[in-house]
Every structure is written in structure tokens, then in C-alpha cells.
Assembly symmetry: C2
Homo-oligomer: 492 residues x 2
């Protein structure tokens, strides 16, 4: 069988694209920079979304839906936010097409159907939401507002990559309003914790929690907190952000509340989001040269069963046993498929489900039936083992948990091996080039130095970790004094 | 207390808007024709969506996601579809804003960032999806494709109404591909059945299944099947449609498959959708002058408990009992809220939950505790009754089922009373004006007559019911011969 997936060593970037396309997560589309999320990829997203949605609801949030379009006058109200997104937004200017008088069957934009005010397709929804909150908030009794939205957003990126950077993407955006600064800060960090827990427990991707430097902040935020993950090529990936917005949007949209003493003050805000980009992180954190490796908790399919038979008589013996196992697995809410299609041979099926990253594969033949055993292969380590058929369901259930934990442990060990201290410039550059990963180094705290390092090495400050140990040191570039190390990396 | 909701008798249309706004389902937005779906309304939509999604999956469908934008050249490929939607679509022409040199802090569209090809914001996704399916389908082995998408779509309606007709709305759109005409037709009718079952079992809204006349067909369909519901003002509302698309889109996008004999043929298609418009139908089918009346199966909140106390000592006695009931209800997955907030008096709370249509309200005071009873009020009939506290949970569970059934029965009785036969033009006009509702009348089968009747009366043919009895008759307008009655109504 020809090798369908390019090896990581040969071309990491092509490997990634092969995994997405051949693992049937997504497809290119006819629209520049936009992708089609295929059923298998969408099934993965649904599992991620449902788990996150439950975590949001368990922490007191509710969902709502706000318009796709932001009138230009609202878009420009919060100046920094507008400046940050103006360069890459899709703009609706007309509301009708008409027949092209010069080309039968073709349509042209009707110049008479020009909008009085242009509409920006939301790149993020602070503007439209805070304009709405103005009508919802009068008194402290109306606070907090803890709202989340699952939506599509559009950012006109020039260089796009499947899942990692697309013109349109799916995400959730939480937008909360609070009476006090303390409460808003607490919410910001609470949601950062939710994201970190989701990444680690569901995606099996360890993350570092930290705060961004001023130059890496969300446009319009006072502080941006983030979770940063490490990919197999040693590059970092920002997997989620939680912003403390201060009173910036409340001021831009004049949203005040009266407190218990009838004093008026501006409302405090947060926003936080993760997107389908997480799927890119998931793919790059775990997969190998044979295809995807998906963690059981969110895998669309957790178990696949492949029968091995030569005739219908054998098949019906196997079917009977498999139906028993299927029933047992479904009772445990395990997502299982029995692939007894005639179209392809077992070997083809094995390769197919390997490519798609199904965590556990069972193979069952007549000889196995005679011996009352079943062959179970795990995708992550590629180990195969024969187990008794008697307690197959319990074996599989335990194995799924084991795989989930093992995937996390492996990714964590990799990350721990790839955090290095650099104490001078030469070491910094050498580590970046030879080892990549996160580099913990002293920085003098200035935007100029940060920018200079980025120019010289393409490495950016990923974050200043939370609870960062304080120690005296010297900036790796300028030698100026510093009180703590920050994490540098080249990043997606 | 001042009457917050306009009575149906005074102003039906204002009554509807009051229900939506004061019941906190939705809010107007700053974007022309777009609304904000508030958390309570979105909770309702989530319950509807989840129930439908399960029904789709149980019938073998999977979800996927396709781009928001349709390049103009794809949009115009299926001529009738393009013609049908060209007049009301939002068009993206540019991808960047820049600072207005003449107005500091303002932005203008950057004329240098004009798209080579305009993008239509999807009003429906047949074009972008069939262009994608072209790459997915080669052989009969790739069929059927049974895909659904939950998405937002935009149709630039000039006269909008909350939920019923908005420029942007949320919906699901199923898009299936089949090897044979028979299979596609079967799918079309299967999904019509799913919609009818959902409307009746979950929304408690009885519907008539039928097929549209040629002039009311979806643009690009061979046949459009629909479910039609009756509102309290006697107007009909199309609640869902399922289209048999024939080979129209396969031909427009050149999607062929090779069959078992290696013969090439165009693929057969269906599409089907329901939208947030269903919420408008739900509101108008059941509510009264005191507010919303929501069916238990999809109500965001099924039960609310209001404590009645004069001091903290009384309150803690009540709390203890309520916690017991809360636990029992939650164990049964009943959505319940204990409103023990100090901000408002019980009477205010009663009115509030009545307005929001919560199916069951419990009130509990110390006297009730002494008597070991609880007062239970049902929203639909406004009956109040005192029950033993001992089996409160079982009582409530049974009551919720009873309410669901009663709401359906009532709506069905109303509809049955409002289907009338008209055998001549005078009767037709009189019934329409005096009684409204559905009018079953003979029609000569021509588009001209249909159009003329619409001009004269604003009534349209809602559908030709499935399994329609055949009988000889004469067209109410022209007197020409007819073989069956069709259903006319004025409609939303």
C-alpha cells in the first residue's frame, strides 16, 4: 500500500494537511480561506463543544445569540478593538444582485441596492453585544450577566491553514458584565481554568496558563490570559484566551449601572473564546505518521470492530458474538461501529481506522471464537493484545481510560523535555534552532526588546506564566535587569 | 399592576411582539431586521434543536459545516435557485476598512481591498454544498450522503418580524444525495414526517402535511412538501419544508456517479429545513393575554417554586422541604428553579413566570407545611390545586405530561374547528373574512387562478394535503372542473 500520509520528518506541514484531509476532518472549499468541516471532523467538534458547553453551564453561564453583522458605526466605537480588526474583515455593502444585462444567466451587484451603512461580518462580537447590554443593564440587580455564544466569525486572514487559521471559523465567545473589577478579574481567571481543564482532561493536551504581554493582548483588553500548548515540532500554539476588558467597552458604549447606594459607574467586562483551531492543536499534539490519534473522550468513534471471515457461515457466528459486545458497549455509552462492509478487506479497514485515529480496534475471527478471545489494538501505542471474550466490555472500558491518560502523560513528558532555560543570547538562539520548544528566559519588560527578539528569531513571548517564580536575572538580549523569566517560542 | 401585555383582541400583532419582548425570548438589535435571541429564548431553541438533532441522527444523518459565503459564480449556477434568492441577499464586496482621512476615529471601506469576486452571504446552502459534493461523489458506494447543517442564514427581507421573518435567522438545512429518484423521494417524505412528529410531539402544534403548488415551490425544487400550522388568529404558518430537488443541482454542478454497471448518471437530491421561525409558531399557537404558554417538553424551565414566608425562620423551614423536592425533580431530569430571591414579592414572581410560560408553578408557605400540602398551578389552564407533599414529585411529573397532551389537544380542536369547506366564491370570501382558518376548496389547478385568488383575498394555497380525498368539484373562482380540494389560508 502506498504511503498516503507524508512523514513528519519529510515535511511537517504537509503531514498536517494530509492528516486533516485523509483523516476526513475537513476539506478545502471554493471560498478563499474557508474550509468545509466534514462529518467526521464535525463529530469531533460536537463532542468538544458539548463538553465545553456543559462546563460553561456548570459555572453559571447561559447561551444567547447576537447578530452576524456589526454596523460600521458600532464597529468603530471601541477604538483599539476597531483598529485591531479593521484590516481583516469582510464587509457587506449591498443587499441585492440583479441580472447582468450583458451576460445572460449571470448576476451582478445591483448598484441601486447599496446599504446606507456598511455592515462588518463579526470578527468578534464585543461591539454588537455591548451595544445590546446597554439596554439590559440599569442596576446592580441586573449583574452579573454571564452569557456565551456559539457562532461563526470571519477574519480575512491572508495566509490560511486548515483549522489553524481560516477566514471563517466556528467558536464560542463568552461576554460577561460585572459590578466590580474584582469580580470581572475572578471570572477571567475562572474561565481560563475551565479552558485549561478542558484541554488537559478532554483533549489530553497539557497547557501552560499565563498572561500575555501588552503587545500580544486582544485589541481592546486590559489583560489577556491564555493557555499555551506545545506541538510535536516544538512550536507553541495558543489554544484559548480569556480577556479582562476593564471598563473599555462599557465606556465605548456608555453602559453604566447604579449600585446599592444609587451611584452610577461603568460596568466591568470579560470575554473569552476558543475555536475550531483547537482541532489543529489536537491533531498536531498527538498524531503520528500513520494518521490521527484521537483521545477517547472526544473521539467521534471510540471503538471499531472488524470481523475476519471467509464465508457467510463464519460471518454469522462472528455477528452473533459482536452483537453481544456492541450491546454491552452501547449500554456504557461507548461510541462503537461494527464495520462488516463487504467492500474492503480487513487490512484496508485497519489502515483506514488507524488514519482516522479511532482509539481502539477489535478484530474477531472464527479461530478467536473457538479460543474465546479477541484481539484488541490500541491506536496510541499500536500495541495489540489478545483478551478473553468473557469480559471484553470491561477490558475496553478500562483501556479507553488508560489511553486517555497515557496520551496526556506522553504529551506532558514531551513538553517538560522541551522547556529549556536560556541565560544568554547565544544560548537562546541555539536552543531555538536546535531544540525549539518553550524557552524560559529573562526579558527586560520593554515592547522594543520583545519586537527586536521577534525580528531576529521569529520567537514571541507566549506568556508570563501564572504564579511565575521570581528571580533576579538579566534580559537575554539587552542584559537589562529582570525579575522573572518569561516563555518564548516560535508559534502557530 | 398595569397590564404589560396587549390583549389579542385589541391588537394581535402587538400582543405577539409583547410576548416575545416581555417574555424575554428576544430583543431588537442595532442591525436592520436582525434580532438578539436572549438567553431564555435561546434555551428554548436549544431544547428544540437538541430534540430535532436526535431525530436526525436516529434517521441516519450526520452534521457537517460549510462556508458562510457563496462566491457569485457558484450562486448563479442553478438558475432558478439564483433567481429566487438574488433579490434579497447580503453581498460582501470588500475585505478591509481603513481610517477615514477626513474624520478622525472613523473608518471607511478601503477601495483598494475590493474582492475579485463578490461573495453572497448564504441565504441557503445548496450551491456551496453541491459544489462540494462534486468532490465527494464518484460511485454508488459514496451514496447516499445524509448530511445536515445547523447554521445562520441571511435573507434581506424588507418587512421583518421577530422570529417570523428576520434578515438573519438560525436554522438547520439537510442536504442529501441519492442514487435513485425513488430513494430521494422517500427521504423527502421521511424528513417531512420527522418535522410533523417534532411539531406535534414536542411543540404540541398540530400540522397538516402536504405538497406546495408549483408557484409556492422552493426555488430550484421539483416538489416542495410542507407542514402547515394554524395560529390563533386563523392565519396559517408554514412550519417546515422538505424539498425533492430532482437532478437540478447535480446538473448545475455536474455531480455524477457511476452505478454498479459503471453507467454514469446525475445524482438525486433533497433538502429540508426548519428555523427559529418555529418559535414564532409556538408562541402564536398557545399563548394567552397573560403571556407565553410553553409546552413542557421544550420549555427552558418546566417548574418554578416560589416560597411564601414572613421571616427567616419560616424561610428555613420551607427551604428544607423545597430542597427535598428539588432533589427529587432533578433526579427525574425535570428543569426546575427555586426562586427564593428577596428582590420581589410572590405575586410579582407569579406574574413573571406566567409571562414566561413556565408550565408548572409551585407555591409553598408555612401553613402548607403544617398541612403537608403544596399548591400547584398549571400555566395552560391556570388551574390551581392543592396536593399532598408526600408524592409531589410524581404529581408534578404526571402533570407535565398531562399539560403537554392537553396543549396539543386544545390546539388540534381549534384547528379542526377552523377548517371549513367552501363550495362557491361567495362562501369562500365570507369564510375567509368571518372565520379565517383553513378553507378547503376546489381549484382548477392553474397558476393564473391561484394568483388571482391571492390578489383578490390575500389567501394562498397552503398545500395540497397528502392522501387528499379525491372528489369531483368546480373551482371556486372559475368554475372549471377539479378533482380535489386544496387548503387555502391567509398566512404568515
Amino acid at each position: 500500500m502506498s504511503k498516503e500520509i507524508t512523514s513528519r520528518q519529510v515535511d511537517y506541514s504537509q503531514w498536517y494537511n494530509d492528516l486533516i484531509i485523509k483523516g476526513e476532518l475537513a476539506d478545502y472549499s471554493a471560498v478563499r480561506g474557508c474550509m468545509v468541516i466534514k462529518p467526521y471532523g464535525f463529530g469531533l467538534w460536537e463532542n468538544m463543544r458539548d463538553a465545553l458547553d456543559k462546563m460553561f453551564k456548570d459555572t453559571g453561564h447561559v447561551n444567547a445569540y447576537f447578530p452576524l453583522f456589526v454596523p460600521k458605526s458600532l464597529f468603530e466605537a471601541e477604538e483599539k478593538n476597531a483598529e485591531g480588526f479593521a484590516k481583516e474583515c469582510a464587509i457587506v455593502t449591498h443587499y441585492r444582485l440583479k441580472n447582468d444585462p450583458e451576460n445572460k444567466g449571470k448576476l451582478i451587484v445591483d448598484p441601486e441596492a447599496k446599504l446606507e451603512e456598511e455592515l462588518v461580518v463579526r470578527p468578534t462580537s464585543e461591539a454588537i453585544i455591548w451595544n445590546t447590554y446597554k439596554g439590559w443593564i440599569q442596576s446592580y440587580r441586573d449583574l452579573p450577566i454571564l452569557v456565551n455564544q456559539w457562532a461563526n466569525v470571519v477574519r480575512w486572514e491572508m495566509r490560511t491553514r486548515l483549522f489553524l487559521r481560516t477566514a471563517e471559523f466556528l467558536w464560542q465567545e463568552g461576554h460577561t458584565a460585572h459590578a466590580t473589577k474584582e469580580e470581572a478579574l475572578e471570572e477571567t481567571l475562572k474561565m481560563l481554568d475551565v479552558y485549561a481543564e478542558f484541554a488537559e482532561k478532554y483533549m489530553a493536551v497539557p497547557v501552560i496558563k499565563g498572561v500575555k504581554t501588552a503587545s500580544e493582548r486582544f485589541a481592546g483588553a486590559e489583560d489577556t490570559y491564555c493557555i499555551e500548548a506545545l506541538m510535536q515540532d516544538g512550536k507553541a500554539l495558543q489554544a484559548g484566551t480569556s480577556h479582562f476588558l476593564g471598563q473599555n467597552f462599557a465606556k465605548a458604549f456608555d453602559v453604566k449601572y447604579s449600585d446599592k447606594n444609587n451611584q452610577l459607574d461603568y460596568v466591568w467586562a470579560t470575554s473569552w473564546g476558543v475555536s475550531t483551531r483547537l482541532i489543529g492543536a489536537l491533531v498536531m499534539a498527538h498524531s503520528d505518521d500513520d494518521g490521527l490519534i484521537l483521545p477517547p473522550k472526544i473521539a467521534p468513534l471510540q471503538v471499531v470492530i472488524v470481523p475476519i471471515y471467509k464465508n457467510e457461515e463464519q460471518k454469522s457466528l462472528i455477528d452473533a458474538k459482536v452483537n453481544h459486545i456492541l450491546h454491552g458497549l452501547k449500554t456504557k455509552n461507548i461510541r462503537v461501529k461494527y464495520d462488516d462492509s463487504d467492500n474492503n478487506r480487513p487490512g484496508w479497514k485497519f489502515a483506514e481506522y488507524e488514519k482516522k485515529g479511532v482509539p481502539v480496534r477489535l478484530a474477531l475471527g472464527v479461530r478467536d471464537l473457538e479460543n474465546n478471545v479477541i484481539e484488541i489494538a490500541r491506536r496510541d501505542t499500536k500495541e495489540k493484545q489478545t483478551y478473553s471474550l468473557d469480559n471484553a466490555v470491561a477490558t475496553i472500558e478500562a483501556l479507553l481510560e488508560n489511553i486517555q491518560q497515557h496520551m496526556f502523560d506522553k504529551a506532558l513528558a514531551f513538553r517538560e523535555q522541551n522547556i529549556s532555560n536560556a541565560d544568554n543570547w547565544d544560548e537562546f538562539v541555539r536552543l531555538l534552532d536546535e531544540k525549539a520548544g518553550f524557552i524560559a528566559a529573562h526579558w527586560d519588560g520593554t515592547a522594543e526588546t520583545e519586537e527586536k527578539i521577534k525580528e531576529l528569531t521569529k520567537a514571541t513571548i507566549r506568556c508570563i506564566p501564572l504564579n511565575n517564580p521570581q528571580e533576579d536575572g538579566k534580559c537575554v538580549l539587552t542584559g537589562n535587569p529582570s525579575k522573572e523569566r518569561v516563555l518564548f517560542a516560535r508559534a502557530y
